[in-house]
């Protein structure tokens, strides 16, 4: 990308003429949505033997498979640089999947843009910049429901019931909230579309242990409503404790796969990733 003259950064730091605040960084694999087709069976959401990388770059994922079924929490763990977030982005259409497929609810959606995946019912919470900082909490939730044309006040009430602190701060700018509260706003925003599956990219990154426990509790609560949750987690042990399904990735490949309990009990996994 660096050889693209349009991306030359020279002179771009002059804030009196160039505004880089909030500029888009996403590079969707497809600019326009391609064909989708029906498929039979399989889990609710699956990234099946995905191989791919960003743009024209090298492959980062190699035959990587991650899936989540209804009512489950699936967790992706692994060492730094293992491609956890990349796998998640591949499922969401922000990575060029060169081999393999992504299927949602009996439909092959490999060729859809991220926006169209949101329309099909995927809710995605990015790891960073996942709220509109200059807007109020309520406006954040309203923007989450942007694609809905019906009355979403019911859903907003549900989000407030799930995260009561947000109800108190509804008229405060989201950027003024603490780290844990921001994550609640971020998850709440994704829930506003009433997604069929929720994808969380390191929801507990950068929050204190107490807040982390609370966030995990809330995630379990969300999952009890029957919403499948796929998440990437840095805190492997805690994440696997609440996981129905766990994927340990190493260098873009599936290293170990099993239920959360199996992985926690697996001596190999314990030794390599959980610190004994």
């Amino acid at each position: 990308m660096s050889d693209n003259p349009y991306h030359d950064d020279k002179g771009n730091k002059d804030r009196s003429i160039a505004n880089t605040h909030g500029a888009g960084t996403m590079t969707p694999a497809h600019r326009k949505s391609g064909e989708t087709h029906k498929v039979e069976g399989g889990p609710f959401l699956i990234g099946d033997t995905m191989t791919g990388g960003y743009g024209k770059g090298p492959d980062i994922l190699h035959d990587c498979t991650i899936a989540v079924d209804k009512g489950e929490i699936a967790v992706i763990v692994g060492p730094n640089g293992a491609g956890k977030s990349t796998a998640m982005k591949a499922v969401f259409g922000m990575l060029d999947v060169r081999a393999g497929a992504v299927r949602l609810d009996g439909e092959d959606i490999t060729n859809l843009t991220p926006q169209d995946r949101v329309q099909r019912g995927m809710g995605f919470v990015p790891q960073t910049s996942n709220i509109f900082t200059s807007m109020t909490v309520e406006e954040n939730l309203e923007m989450g429901a942007f694609i809905r044309r019906d009355d979403f006040s019911q859903t907003m009430e549900q989000v407030y019931d799930l995260f009561p602190i947000l109800r108190d701060k509804r008229n405060q700018a989201a950027g003024e909230l603490s780290g844990g509260q921001r994550q609640q706003v971020a998850v709440g925003r994704a829930l506003m579309t009433q997604p069929k599956v929720l994808m969380l990219d390191e929801p507990t990154a950068g929050v204190s242990p107490i807040v982390m426990d609370e966030l995990f509790d809330r995630i379990i609560e969300v999952s009890r409503t029957g919403l499948p949750i796929l998440m990437v987690e840095q805190n492997a042990r805690q994440a696997l404790e609440i996981a129905d399904k766990g994927y340990v990735l190493v260098q873009g490949r599936n290293a170990y796969t099993g239920t959360g309990k199996e992985l926690l009990a697996d001596p190999e996994v314990r030794k390599s990733f959980l610190g004994g």
Binding site: D14, N19, T193
Partner: protein
């Protein structure tokens, strides 16, 4: 009595013209700040967008006048304004489609868009001169004054008169209505909020299902409407001359930057700060001071800090001071 006379003279020569000029600058700066906040670059073609919109208003006004249509005591240009706005919207949307969209698709850095906008500026500049010529055009009609100096003197018995031009009154009223509409739109409507969301965090807006191309289109439409309104009001107040709009770019940018780029509230405040500084510094204070000073101490000179020829120096100096000491502007501009 002397104090009242001083006050009236001050209002007549400083306050009223500065409020009208400030409103025009504020409308212009709002357009600049919206482009900066949402499209993320400083639009150097803004002055010439104003000129183009005002030019259509002039042409339509002439057409209406030839057809014998008039708006009573109000200038016919107000009737022409909606047509001018439409024409200007068409121009900016075509420009966006032909020029800016290409760079957006390349995800070009903002500084490149700034240079692109300069190119657009020269084209628009040429277009306007090609169509209407480089000369001064008068197109204001209707009643010239709301309150004329003579009536005011007769009414109050003061030595000083206070004149309020129709164009000045209209400027302030139209500006207030336009700003109120804009703020209502940005803060209360779904589309307006989606524009703020896009300005705040483009990626997340995309993930929320907000269509960037639609946001960009609506931004251009609003900017064209604001620019045309500002251009027509300025033209009614002074006169229409293409080159003057190009020159207006400096005070408009100064207003937007003083207020804080990206902040609509800042653009308005900045507009008035620049207007008041420009007018007070280039005004010859002799008359006002003569009324106020004790006997024998009246100033003998004009007490004019700068000749009006240098009025652009005022915005330039303010711009420099703000960039040196408070680069984010008074309202800490960031997102719309």
């Amino acid at each position: 009595m002397d104090f009242l006379n001083a006050l009236v003279a001050l209002s007549n020569f400083v306050l009223v013209p500065a409020i009208a000029y400030g409103s025009q600058l504020a409308l212009g700066a709002l357009g600049v700040t919206l482009i900066y906040g949402i499209l993320r670059f400083s639009n150097f073609a803004h002055g010439d967008t104003m000129a183009f919109g005002a030019m259509i208003a002039v042409l339509v006004t002439w057409g209406l006048q030839a057809a014998g249509v008039s708006f009573g005591p109000l200038p016919t240009a107000l009737l022409a304004l909606p047509f001018a706005i439409l024409g200007c919207i068409v121009l900016v949307l075509i420009t966006d489609r032909l020029v800016y969209r290409f760079y957006r698709e390349q995800k070009a850095k903002p500084v490149i868009l700034v240079i692109v906008s300069m190119g657009v500026m020269f084209i628009m500049n040429g277009l306007v001169r090609f169509i209407i010529g480089p000369d001064d055009q008068r197109f204001s009609d209707g009643a010239r004054f709301i309150v004329s100096a003579r009536d005011f003197k007769a009414m109050t018995g003061l030595r000083e008169g206070l004149a309020i031009k129709t164009s000045q009154g209209i400027t302030v009223i139209v500006a207030v209505v336009a700003v109120a509409l804009l703020f209502w739109f940005l803060n209360k409507t779904r589309t307006g909020k989606s524009m703020r969301a896009y300005s705040d965090n483009e990626d997340l807006a995309l993930l929320s299902g907000i269509n960037p191309e639609r946001v960009v289109m609506i931004t251009w439409i609003i900017v064209a409407a604001l620019a045309t309104t500002a251009g027509v009001l300025y033209g009614l107040d002074k006169s229409f001359k293409p080159f003057v709009y190009f020159q207006l770019l400096l005070p408009i940018f100064a207003s937007a930057i003083v207020g804080g780029l990206g902040s609509p509230l800042g653009a308005i405040a900045g507009g008035f700060i620049i207007a008041f500084s420009e007018v007070t510094i280039t005004y010859a204070w002799k008359k006002v001071l003569t009324y106020l000073a004790p006997e024998g101490l009246e100033p003998s000179g004009l007490v004019q800090f700068l000749s009006t020829d240098y009025k652009f120096a005022v915005s330039f100096v303010i711009l420099l001071i703000v960039l040196l000491f408070k680069p984010t502007g008074l309202f800490k501009g960031k997102a719309v």
